[in-house]
Amino acid sequence: MPEAEATTGAIAETGRTSRLATLLQVARARPRFALGYVIVLAAVLAGALAPLVAPYSPVEANPAEFLQPPSAQHWLGTDAVGMDIFSRVIYAPRIDLAIAVAGTLLSAVVGCLIGAWVGYHSRGGGLRGWLAYLVMRAADVMQAFPVFVFAIALVASLGQSVQTVVLAIAFVNIPIYLRLMRSQVMTIREMRYVEASLVAGLSDARTIARHVMPNAMGPALAQLSVNVGWSILLTAGLSFVGAGVRSPTPEWGSMIASGFQNVVTGEWWPSVFPGLALAVTVFGFSLIGSSVELFADPVKMRRLTRDLAARRRERAA
């Protein structure tokens, strides 16, 4: 059976090399994945080092130098009140990434916990079964709303602040993790080792925590990075319509929005540079998402390592 042989060979191959080496090989074979990590790392570094690197304060208006085009003095120009766009663009990841990561993690934790509970009890009857059913219908209702409108409504009702945006992002993402986790848990619930755990006398909660969740986390983890990118877009979108963070907090979406009105009169830079930064960062997260998907898929991963091994053998020959 050539297929079985090849698989065994690939696993053997993987076993011989360290994980890091495999990662590096994958990076060489799929350079776009590496690009994703580089972009995200750059965004994180820009945010972290902004106070050291930024030539100007990101929140200080300087009316004497409003709407200056890119120059040696202001690399990316200035906006309508004279704030330095470069300084603001590199400060922005502090807010955008923080909001997106916090919102996504919060939704992942809450969504996974509820999803695990619901999945565990979905096939059972009684009150718990009904409750699980109700939770799923509530998730249906939440997902039936256009995400953006739902987020705007949340921010409008809770008040405009960074915390609210985080909450809004977490809230609209919860159903995604809830569903992922539920479907995983429903499969795992039937496994012998779960039965064994229950027979051994562990409570439902402990069984879920010790044996079900750790085995069901894969798809949710793969979803994380894609979700972070998407949440950055949502954060920027909320700010663009004025429902996000408060001005003059450096944030890409609000920068695009406030610069947008100048585009029609020829001053493109206040809007275009934050727009580019936003697009590139989201692209970076999407590449990372693809790579995680690959790593999390044993079939694809096996195929890739097999290809890599074959290539190495060819080179050696």
Binding site: E60, A64, A80, R246, S247, F260, N262, T265, G266
Partner: protein
């Protein structure tokens, strides 16, 4: 009456799509769909306006939004009007002659509209108006003194904005307005009132066709409130042909109008929420007028041969309400300090591109008796710090500035203020409020600092100061209260002697500038972007267009 000037909303994808849709529609209505010489003539006599909003309502009693006030000036006529004069600074633009004219009766340059003659008794307590004969409404009913009486009775009964109109004239009961003959009406006052004639010109006092409105309303709706939501019954030069809110309103010139027939036979007001889209439509030739652009957009029209921008000094003012009931703004020195930290020149240059002047008085600078000599708040951060120290706030304090998301100039002004205030140790957070919530917050008077843009429609210092600074006024949004100021303002509203009034309101302005209930920012100018061949623009202190003014060369 004061008017909320909701500026154009910031652009969104939806707005742009709407703009694109309007482009097609406006072109279709105006020009493209009507070939041939006769139709070319029709197109020349069709005025297409890109507006931020179509009229919300058509009843001034309940609605003073932007589209509504433009509609009002076309659909209704008024008892009196100011004479027109060329704007001294803007060639080709006319404006109302609102100055004090010692040589004219009652010191005003007025012309008769629905009233042909008028007379005020020597004691100033009774005004008699002889009305024009042979005037028909858009429903064919003949105008008489009963229509004027019914119009004012309606104010007393509905208790909308009209109740302010009655109060400002000191009218307490409908009986004070009396039909003396079929075409003669009188107003009897308890005290002389210098606003009596001026209010007859105010956009908020249109005369209704009472015959039509009593007929359509019946017993259920005796004041025609339902009918006037979507239609009109007046004596103005246009009638409403169509209104589809959010899309367009169409006005048709009346063949049976009593005065000169308007040049523009049809007026189409298209709703285009984004100012950038309105500008694009004008540049593409699809509309004749693009209303309420942003300062930068007006400047971009600059040297175009086919387009023109008229800019005139206006009655609008923009300021910060420094809430005198919220600490630390209850302290006069803190309010003064804020004023010394306002970089007026930067704001006028950077945000308005010169299309504004600094706010140097608590009344519009174009109004008679406005006096800028008491303004002393040129940017002086040292003085501001000193005043804060005097107030016991040498280390500064924190506060919030709330502004209107619907007015694109407020955020940049707030950002410039925030930076300037930081330099005197005052850390302000900026709070952006959606337009609807914003006005609610202004009227609630619970924000420490909130922007306000307004214009007192009647060109009179007593009217303006009463609105904003008398603690009996519902528009005293800064919670300012000074019995001495109340006394002066109200005293000035009970004398007809212009010299005495000038001295009184000089004193009022001096106290107000000293006690700084506002953060004085700017007088934004009124600008109109139009096709170069369109002429006749006239500026009114109510900041609305009157379609009958326009012609095409």
């Amino acid at each position: 009456m004061s008017q909320h000037q909701a500026g154009p909303l910031h652009a969104s994808r939806r707005n742009i799509l709407q703009g694109a849709a309007a482009l097609g529609a406006a072109a279709g209505i105006g020009i493209a769909s009507r070939p041939g010489p006769a139709h070319a003539q029709d197109a020349a006599r069709t005025l297409v306006i890109a507006s931020p909003a179509t009229p919300q309502g058509l009843d001034i009693e309940f609605d003073v939004s932007l589209g509504s006030i433009d509609a009002l000036g076309a659909l209704y006529d008024y008892m009196l009007a100011y004479e027109k004069m060329p704007d001294p600074k803007a060639p080709g633009v006319m404006r109302e002659d609102i100055g004090v004219h010692g040589d004219r009766p009652n010191g005003l340059a007025l012309r008769g509209r629905l009233a042909e003659k008028w007379d005020i008794s020597p004691d100033g307590l009774k005004a008699t108006f002889v009305l024009r004969q042979g005037v028909k409404s858009n429903w064919g009913n003949t105008f008489s003194a009963r229509d004027v009486k019914w119009t004012w009775d309606r104010k007393f009964n509905l208790k909308g904005q009209g109740i302010f109109q009655t109060a400002v004239l000191g009218l307490k009961t409908p009986d004070q307005i009396k039909v003396e003959a079929d075409h003669v009406i009188s107003f009897s006052l308890e005290k002389p009132n210098p606003l009596l004639l001026k209010q007859q010109c105010n956009l908020a006092n249109p005369i209704y066709d009472s015959t039509k409105l009593t007929q359509v309303g019946g017993a259920d709706d005796p004041w025609g409130v339902q009918f006037l939501k979507n239609d009109s019954a007046g004596f103005g030069p246009y009638k409403l042909q169509q209104i589809v809110r959010g899309q367009q309103a169409v006005f048709q010139a009346r063949e049976d109008y009593w005065d000169e027939k308007p040049f523009m036979r049809t007026v189409v007001m298209r709703e285009v929420p984004s100012s950038a889209s309105r500008l694009s439509l004008l540049q593409g030739g699809a509309v004749d007028i693009a209303q309420f652009l942003q300062p930068r957009e007006y400047m971009s029209i600059g040297t175009s041969r086919t387009l023109a921008v008229d800019t005139v000094n206006a009655s609008s003012m923009i300021w910060l309400e420094l809430n005198a009931k919220i600490k630390p703004f209850d302290n006069v020195d803190v309010r003064r300090a804020i004023n010394y930290a306002i970089p007026h020149d930067d704001i006028v240059k950077t945000v308005y591109y010169g299309l504004a002047d600094k706010l140097t008085a608590p009344v519009p600078y174009i109004y008679p008796m406005a006096d800028p000599q008491y303004f002393s708040y040129d940017l002086n951060l040292d003085k501001a710090k000193q005043l804060l120290a005097t107030a016991g706030l040498a280390d500064g304090f924190s506060s919030t500035i709330s502004y209107n998301a619907g007015d694109p100039v407020q955020e940049p002004i707030a950002l410039i203020l925030q930076t300037s205030l930081r330099r005197i140790g005052v850390n302000v957070q900026l709070e952006k409020l959606p337009a609807g919530v914003f006005y609610e917050n202004v009227t609630k008077r619970e924000k420490p600092i909130i922007f306000y843009l307004d214009s007192p429609w009647t060109p009179d210092p007593g009217y303006a100061t009463f609105l904003y600074f008398d603690d009996k006024s519902y528009v005293d949004y800064s919670n300012y209260s000074n019995p001495k100021v109340n006394e002066l303002i109200e005293g000035g509203l009970q004398t007809l002697d212009d010299n005495e009034r000038k001295a009184t309101y000089g004193q009022v302005q001096k106290i107000l500038m000293d006690e700084a209930p506002w953060g004085f920012i700017a007088y934004p100018k009124y600008a109109l972007a139009r096709k170069a061949k369109l002429s006749g623009f006239t500026y009114y202190t109510s900041n609305n267009l009157r379609f009958q003014d326009f012609a095409r060369s």
